[in-house]
Amino acid sequence: MGRVGVVTFPGSLDDGDAARAVRLAGGEPVRLWHGDADLRGVDAVVLPGGFSYGDYLRCGAIARFAPVMEPLVDAARGGLPVLGICNGFQVLCEAHLLPGALVRNDHRTFRCTDQRLRVEASTAWTREYAAGEEVVIPLKNGEGGYLADEATLDRLEGEGLVALRYVVPEGGRNPNGSARDIAGITNVAGNVVGLMPHPEHAVEAGFGPDPRSGTAGTDGLRIFSSVLRQLVA
C-alpha cells in the first residue's frame, strides 16, 4: 500500500480531507508536520489547501520556508510525486518547484463552486484520466488567479505542462482570472503538480459536487488513485 504524506502547516484546512481522500483511494495517509524536516519515508506528498500562516506576506510565502520543505524540495527535484492543492499550489510556486504565481481573483470576491475542468496532461497525479476528459471538482479560493509571463505561458503550452484547464462557456470567463484558463500545471518530469480546485472534496458520492453537475461527485478520486497506481507499478 502506498504511503502518501499530507503536510499540516499552521492554517492548513484541508489536510484532514486530503488524508481521507488518500485512504478512500486505497492508500495509507501519513501526517507530516511543517516543523519537522522529515518526510517519514513516504512515497508521495500532498500539500493541502487552507491559509497557511494566515496568508500573511503572500499566500504560501512563509510556508515555503517551513522545515518540512527542505527535504520536500530536494525529494521533488529527485522525482518524488508531490501534489499542491490550492494553498499547496501557491506553496509550490513560491518554492519555485512550479513556475508562475497565484494572485487575488480578478473579480475580487471569494469563489466557491462546482467547477468543470478539462484534464490535459498525463502526470503522476492525472494518469487515470483520459486525455481531454472533463471532470467536475469543487473550487474555492480568493487568490486563485494563475499568472506567469508570456514566455513562461508559451513554454507551458508548448511542452504540454498545462495539467488542467477551466472549461469556460462560450463568451464566459474563468472563475478567477487565470491566464489562459489554467487551473493546474505540472513540471516537465510530471511528478510535481499544482492545481487550484480541490479533488479531495470529490471522492465520495453524496459528499462532493451536486449530482446536477452531471457527475457522480467522485471525479477527484482518480487524482489520488493515479499516484497510488504509479507506486505499485
Binding site: L57, R58, C93, G100, V103, R104, R108, L147, D149
Partner: protein, 95 residues
C-alpha cells in the same frame, strides 16, 4: 537602532484588484480627482547599530528572497530611514 525601509509594488502589468477596490471607493467619499490606485507593501526592518552599505545589501537580498515575489512584484525601494521619521506624520506630529 537603525531601520531600513523596503517597498514592494505589484508589477505594472499585473492587475491589482486591491488598488482597484480602493480606487472605486475614493470617489464615493468625495475624492474625485484620483484616477487610479495601486497598492503595495512597506516593510521596516530594524537592526541594532547603524545602517551601513552592507546592511542595505542584505536588506535588498531579503527583499528579493522573501519580501517580494519577482514573478508578480518589484522591489521599488530599499533605503535607510531615520527612527524618528518613520513615526512622524506629514503635519509634524508624532503618532
Amino acid at each position: 537602532m537603525g531601520r531600513v525601509v523596503v517597498e514592494v509594488m505589484p508589477k505594472p502589468e499585473i492587475l491589482d484588484p486591491q488598488g482597484k477596490a480602493v480606487a472605486g471607493a475614493l470617489p464615493r467619499l468625495g475624492f474625485g480627482r484620483f484616477t487610479g490606485v495601486r497598492q503595495g507593501k512597506r516593510f521596516e526592518l530594524e537592526i541594532d547599530g547603524e545602517v551601513t552599505a552592507e546592511v542595505l545589501e542584505e536588506a535588498a537580498r531579503a527583499a528579493e528572497v522573501l519580501l517580494s515575489n519577482p514573478v508578480i512584484e518589484d522591489v521599488v525601494r530599499v533605503a535607510p530611514v531615520e527612527a524618528d521619521a518613520a513615526t512622524t506624520t506629514l503635519a509634524g506630529g508624532t503618532v
